[in-house]
Symmetry: C2
Subunit: 417 residues, 2 copies
C-alpha cells in the first residue's frame, strides 16, 4: 500500500475507509476520510485492505491546497473565519496520540470540504491556544479582528474557539462589540479522529448562522445528541454544562435564541433577536482586569480570604453565593469593607438556575445593607466579564450590574414565579 491508495483499515473493532496519506511517524497510518478529515490509526494490529491504488495524487493535492485560492463567487455572502485555537482548529498529533492545536482558519476550511459553496471565506488566526489559556488580551485581539472584518464588509463572522472557556469569550464579545452582523462562536467537543466528532456539523451550522438575518453574538453547538440540529445560544446566557457530550452547551434559564437544521440548512429564531443591520457597529474594548470571582462554600477559611481580598485593592468582585445569594454572616462585614474602599461587589448564585434575591433572608438584607449589588440571574462567569467591562466603560458600574446590557440578565421582579 502507498499514499494515495484507497484503503479499508480494521482495528480494534473499528473500520475506517478512505485515502492513505503520508504519515509523520512509522507507528501510525493516516487515512483521509470521505468527509475530508484525517484520522490517525495505530499501525499495531491494524488490518489494511487496499481497495484501489493511486486514486489520489497526494503530492499534487498537497502543493495545490497550500497555494489554492478559492474563486470569489459574487452570488455568495462572505463569511470571516477567525480562529483562536481549540479542538475545532486542531488535528491529531500523531507523535503523542492526542490533540494539540495546530491549524489556522484556512486549514480548517480545506479540512471541511462541506463548507464549500456556502460562502466566500476570509480566514484569519488571532491565536492558536487551548481555551483554558485564554486571556483578556486575546479577547481584545479578537475584538479588533472582528472590527477589521466588519469594516472590510463581511456578512458574518465565525469564531473557532476551544469549548472550555467559549462562554467567557462569547460574553466578553457581547459587551465589547455592538455588531450589525452575526458573530457566531463554534467549537468541537470531540476531535476529528473520533467517528463521533462534531466539528464538521458545528462549522457548517455556524457558517449558516453567520449568513442568517441576525445581529447577535452567539454560540453555535450541537443542540441534541444526534446530528440533526445545532442550537444558537445568546453569548451571555450560555454555559458548557457537560464535560464531553456534544450537546454540552445550554442556554441557562431559557430556550436557545434559535437553531440551525443541519440537513435543510434552515436557520430559525425562537426568541427575540436583533436583525441584521439593526445595530450599528461599535467597539468598546477596554476591560478592567482588577476583578475577581469568589465562590463561597461552607468550611471556607473566611479569615484567610478576608486578608487576601483586603490586600488586593480590587476594583470589582463577583461573589458566587449560595441559594438566593448568600455567604456566611461573618463574611458580610468583609464585603462591606470592600464596598467602602471602592470595590464594586456583585452577588450571583452557584445554583446556576434562578435569580439572586437578597430581600428574603436576614443574610441577604445584611448584604444589601453592606452595599452589595444583585446581579439578578446573570451567570457568575458572565457577571465577572461584565464587571470587567462595566468598570472600564461606564460611569456607574454597580448600577449596571442590576440591569441587562447584552441579554445577560432577564428582568423579573419575583424570583419564585
Amino acid at each position: 500500500m502507498n499514499p494515495g491508495d484507497r484503503v479499508r483499515v480494521d482495528r480494534a473493532g473499528v473500520t475506517n475507509e478512505g485515502v492513505l496519506m503520508p504519515s509523520s511517524t512509522p507507528e501510525h497510518l493516516v487515512v483521509k476520510l470521505d468527509g475530508g478529515y484525517n484520522v490517525g490509526i495505530d499501525r499495531a494490529d491494524a488490518e489494511v485492505d487496499v481497495l484501489e491504488t493511486g486514486v489520489y495524487d497526494v503530492e499534487e493535492a498537497q502543493s495545490e491546497s497550500s497555494t489554492s485560492e478559492i474563486a470569489f463567487d459574487d452570488d455568495l455572502p462572505t463569511v470571516s473565519l477567525i480562529s483562536t485555537g481549540g479542538t475545532i482548529a486542531s488535528t491529531v498529533d500523531y507523535r503523542t496520540g492526542a490533540v494539540t492545536a495546530q491549524f489556522d482558519a484556512e486549514d480548517v476550511l480545506r479540512a471541511v470540504p462541506d463548507l464549500a459553496g456556502r460562502a466566500n471565506y476570509r480566514g484569519r488566526v488571532v491565536a492558536n491556544i487551548l481555551s483554558e489559556n485564554m486571556t483578556p488580551d486575546v479577547w481584545r485581539d479578537l475584538a479588533e479582528a472582528i472590527e477589521d472584518e466588519i469594516e472590510a464588509g463581511t456578512d458574518g463572522i465565525v469564531v473557532m474557539h476551544g469549548t472550555d472557556t467559549m462562554q467567557f469569550t462569547a460574553a466578553a464579545m457581547s459587551f465589547v462589540v455592538d455588531t450589525p452582523v452575526p458573530v457566531v462562536f463554534t467549537g468541537s467537543q470531540r476531535s476529528a479522529d473520533r467517528p463521533s466528532s462534531d466539528n464538521v456539523m458545528n462549522a457548517v451550522c455556524a457558517v449558516e448562522a453567520a449568513t442568517a438575518d441576525c445581529a447577535e453574538v452567539m454560540v453555535c453547538m450541537h443542540g441534541s445528541e444526534s446530528d440533526d440540529v445545532c442550537a444558537l445560544h445568546r453569548g451571555t446566557r450560555v454555559r458548557k454544562n457537560h464535560t464531553s457530550r456534544r450537546d454540552a452547551f445550554e442556554t441557562v434559564g431559557a430556550n436557545p435564541l434559535g437553531e440551525v437544521d443541519y440537513e435543510s440548512e434552515k436557520v430559525t429564531f425562537r426568541r427575540d433577536h436583533a436583525e441584521r443591520g439593526a445595530t450599528e457597529f461599535s467597539l468598546a474594548p477596554n476591560l478592567n482586569e482588577n476583578v475577581d470571582l469568589l465562590k463561597f462554600t461552607p468550611g471556607m477559611d473566611l479569615d484567610a480570604y478576608a486578608e487576601f481580598l483586603r490586600g488586593r485593592d480590587l476594583d470589582g468582585l463577583v461573589v458566587e453565593g449560595t441559594g438566593l445569594g448568600h455567604v456566611h454572616t461573618d463574611f458580610v462585614p468583609v464585603l462591606e469593607e470592600l464596598v467602602e474602599s471602592g470595590t464594586v461587589v456583585a452577588m450571583t448564585t452557584q445554583c446556576i438556575e434562578g435569580r439572586v434575591c437578597d430581600r428574603v433572608y436576614d443574610t441577604g438584607r445584611d448584604l444589601l445593607d453592606a452595599g452589595v449589588v444583585e446581579a439578578g440571574d446573570t451567570l457568575p462567569g458572565t457577571a465577572k466579564v461584565k464587571l470587567m467591562w462595566a468598570l472600564a466603560n461606564l460611569a456607574d458600574p454597580a448600577e449596571a450590574m442590576e440591569r441587562s446590557l447584552a441579554g445577560e440578565l432577564t428582568q423579573r421582579s419575583v424570583p419564585w414565579e
Copy 2:
C-alpha cells in the same frame, strides 16, 4: 374580632382563612391556617370577615401544646427529627416581615399536624441557623446527634436543614456516618407564609422515607413543580440547581435514588440502595479543615493566587477547572509546587455534568504529571467535603479521591460514552 375567632382575610388579592391568633405586633394579623401553619398578614388594607367567634381556645391550646407529650404508639416506628435551622424550621418573623430561624424540632412537629400518626417522634435541636452559616463544627455536632439517636434505637432520622448548603452537610454525613437506618435531609424552598410552601409535603415525605427499607444518607425534596412526588437524592450527588423552584434539588448525572409518592405514601427506590440494617453503625467525625476549593476562570490573577496558596500550607485543594478538568498552563507549576509540598490537589469540573479526564489535552497531561489527581465525576462541593474527610481518616487520601467512598464518584473509563 378576637384571637380564637375563625376569620377570612383578604389582602392584595390573596385570601386566607383560619383561626385568628395573638400577634406580637399591632401591624400584623396572625392566622393559623387549616394545614397548621401560621401566616402573618399586613393589617394595612386587610379586609377581615369574622366567620365564627371563639372556635378555638387559644390560651388553653398554647399551654397544652407547650407541655404536650404525644403518646407513644407501639405499632409505629420511631423517627428522630433533628433540626439545624433553615426555613423548614422557621416561622414568620412578624417584626421585619421576613423569615428568621426560630423553631425547634418539637415546634415543627406541632406546626405540621400531618406528621401525626406516621411515627413516634423524638425531637432535638443541633443548631438554629440559616445554612449559609453552617460550619464543620455543626457537621460534627450533627453527626454526634445522629449517633445518639441510632444508639437509642431510632428507626430513622430526619434532618431539618436550610436549603442553601444542604448538599454539603448531606455529603459530610455520607462520609462521616455509616448508618443502618435512613438519614433523610429535608428543607423548604418557600416559607410557611406562602401558599406555595413546600414545607409540609417535604416533612411528611421525609418521615415516610425515614421509615422505609433503606440505609442511606439522602435528601428528600420536591421532585416536580407539583405537589405529587418528593425525590430521594443520594447525599453525595445532589445539588441545589435553582434558587427558588420547589424542585430545585437534582441528582447530578443520574436518576434520583428513589421517590416518595405524597398521596399514597409509597416509597420506591429506582436505583441500588443499601437496605435497612445492611450497614453497621460507625462514626468517623474527624475532618481536616485545612482544605480549600478554587474555581478557575479566565482573567484570574494567577500570580495573586499563587502567592495566596503558597502562604497557606493547605493540606488539600480541590480545583474546579474548565471542561475536562483544566486550568491555565501557567498555573500548572503552581499546583505542582503545592503537590510537592504535600498538598493533595484534586481536579473537578465546573461543567457540573460529566467527568474529569486529563488524558485528552496537553494541559490535562501536564496536570497529571504535576501530581494532580482526578476526582472523576465527583461534584466540586462534594469533593471538598470528601477531601476534608479523607485527609483526617485515610492513609492515602489522594488515592481515595479517584474512587468512590459513598457513591460520590461513578466509575466509567471513557468519558464520552
